[in-house]
């Protein structure tokens, strides 16, 4: 039987999807749509994390060399010199919603391409309808949530639901009551108070200083200390991911950056620690605001159940640094999730799988 095809209603004409009703089974998918990296986990066991980055060849030569008209994920980072690159997300939100003109179209297309790549990474069979729960920043605007739904549908995802990212993490670790979940990403740090019901606006705080802010501060501090050193934002990012720590250790963060074209080893340990430590007060302030507005009888409970996930949670010594920062608030206990990179996607997948099938039927219409 030939599947019936329809043309998408929006301006993007690149993607034509088989009509959902021709699909006989469902593939549940959880997506953590991040500013820097996005992760996907699906009910068939597929898991993948990729850079949230899309690139187009700069000219016909690069197109010929790369053998593709558009690249997505880590391949863009590897070939970025031959590409026009675009991060579809900015500070946790879809960037095109704040753009206009050709830039908006390009950013929107990048968003569809990224979601399409994530869908393909879930390895759906042709007869499977992809039903995805997508994690969005805690304080994502309604416009942005709707934009995520629209782009996901344009990318061939048949059923879409959007959920607060820290809530997805809370669902993954079954911390749905008397807990605070913190998702440290690149664009935002999302804090969410779990009180036994779906979190509302007053239960969530988003800090717009996260991994990218650390990169920016680290670059500034290195430039101050070593004005002659040459580096790019990607080199800074790699150094941060390799050495980031908020505690004094004997290990030194030694990187090889060029100085006047000559590879030179420099010690960036103090700059790195300083840049990372700057995040801690922002996080503890967010925790304080959520604790302070909670029922006084239960405040001690949520202070003692703080769960941290996301790529930023892998900073060495963060757990101790946060607990130290919480001492001024009366103390608290911090736990880092076992699988911080995939925790959001796994929670979203769990939600997708436990969502009744009739709900998905309605969302697919």
């Amino acid at each position: 039987m030939t599947p019936e095809y329809r043309t998408q209603h929006n301006s993007n004409k690149d993607v034509a999807l088989p009509w959902a009703s021709s699909k006989t089974s469902i593939l549940h998918v959880g997506i953590d749509l991040g500013t820097s990296r996005s992760a996907i986990a699906s009910s068939n066991g597929s898991r993948e994390v990729m850079a949230s980055l899309v690139g187009w060849p700069k000219d016909s030569v690069s197109a010929r060399v790369l053998g593709a008209s558009i690249l997505v994920g880590d391949a863009v980072l590897e070939n970025r010199l031959a590409l026009h690159t675009c991060y579809p997300l900015n500070a946790g939100n879809l960037a095109f919603t704040e753009l206009s003109g050709p830039e908006k179209d390009a950013s929107k297309k990048a968003g569809v391409t990224l979601l399409d790549a994530l869908r393909k990474a879930s390895n759906p069979r042709p007869d499977q309808a992809v039903c995805a729960v997508i994690g969005a920043p805690a304080e994502a605007t309604r416009e942005n949530k709707q934009a995520i739904v629209d782009l996901a549908r344009d990318a061939g995802i048949d059923g879409v639901m959007v959920v607060s990212e820290p809530f997805a993490v809370a669902y993954a670790v079954n911390a749905l009551e008397n807990a605070i979940v913190i998702d440290i990403g690149a664009g935002t740090i999302d804090l969410c108070r779990m009180a036994g019901s779906l979190p509302g606006a007053e239960d969530q705080v988003t800090v717009f200083r996260a991994g990218n802010y650390v990169d920016q501060r680290l670059a500034e501090l290195i430039r101050e200390a070593h004005p002659q050193v040459q580096f790019t934002s990607n080199m800074i990012k790699l150094a941060k991911e390799r050495f980031s720590s908020v505690v004094d250790t004997e290990n030194r963060a030694l990187v090889t950056f060029p100085v006047a074209g000559c590879p030179t080893k420099i010690d960036i340990t103090p700059q790195l620690r300083s840049a990372v430590e700057e995040l801690v007060p922002w996080i503890t302030q967010g925790i304080q605001s959520l604790v302070a507005t909670f029922d006084p009888e239960f405040q001690h409970r949520i202070r003692n159940k703080i769960i941290v996930s996301g790529g930023g949670s892998q900073v060495f010594g963060l757990q101790e640094a946060l607990e130290k920062g919480l001492e001024a608030l009366g103390g608290g206990r911090v736990t880092i999730v076992d699988d911080p990179v995939y925790a959001g996607a796994q929670g979203a997948l769990k939600l997708a799988q436990e969502m009744p099938e009739e709900y998905w039927s309605q969302m697919r219409r």
């Binding site: 739904v149 959007v162 969502m355």
Partner: protein, 230 residues
């Protein structure tokens, strides 16, 4: 488990056929398969041996001995090619016939021919009845031996399966008890677990509202003020 099919190549009364999957479920991973032809061969061998022993004991002339051997062989050899074309080893039977000289052979050829055509004597009949009984008894003995051997193995396996099943039940019971305790603890710690369906419903309603309100979003409104289904 089912009763043996009537079209089985080797019908064994009171025997049973086990589904391989059932055996695998019971933990049996290896089986020795004895084919019908092997069983027949074993039985034929035993029969031929018994026949040799009996012919050694009774006092009969060479002609009668040969007659008995011929008749026995006609029963023993596979006459129906559809059952088993494999040759039956009957060396134990054939050498039992005494060497006969050409002269004797010529002398005996006429009576033998007449004996094979004409009615049997009383003694021959008695011998054949005795032989028939012996054959029947040996067949039954052999089959019973094989069946007993199989039954012993099956019984041993069934006992083992029973032991394992009991152990499994005991483990299940222990785990179930532990689960109940854990569930009871969780019920105390997290009563929210019982409201998961309600939570999922809220999330669904929030997303339905998100879709329906998309076109109605007021200009300038940027921050999400909804309570996501609350």
């Amino acid at each position: 488990m089912t009763l043996e099919a009537s079209d089985s190549p080797l019908p064994l009364p009171a025997s049973s056929v086990h589904e391989l999957q059932d055996l695998q479920k019971k933990g049996i991973s290896r089986l020795r398969v004895v084919s019908a032809s092997q069983l027949r061969d074993s039985a034929r061998m035993a029969l031929a041996q018994a026949l040799n022993e009996m012919l050694g004991e009774i006092q009969i002339c060479g002609e009668e001995r040969q007659l008995i051997l011929d008749r026995a062989q006609s029963h023993l050899m596979p006459s129906n090619p559809s059952i088993d074309p494999s040759p039956v080893e009957t060396p134990e039977v054939a050498p039992a016939s005494e060497p006969v000289s050409r002269a004797d052979e010529a002398h005996q050829s006429q009576p033998q021919a007449s004996a094979s055509k004409g009615p049997l004597g009383e003694r021959e009949k008695a011998l054949l009845v005795q032989l028939s009984r012996l054959i029947a008894r040996d067949w039954r003995t052999e089959l019973a031996t094989v069946r007993d051997s199989q039954r012993t193995q099956v019984e041993r396996l069934e006992m083992r399966i029973e032991e394992l099943t009991l152990a499994l039940h005991a483990t299940d019971h222990a785990l179930a008890s532990e689960d109940k305790q854990c569930t009871a603890e969780l019920e105390v710690k997290s009563p929210f677990d019982h409201k998961k369906s309600e939570l999922l419903d809220q999330l669904f309603q929030a997303n339905v509202a998100l879709r329906s309100l998309a076109d109605e979003t007021a200009p300038g409104e940027t921050r999400s003020q909804d309570r996501e289904g609350r």
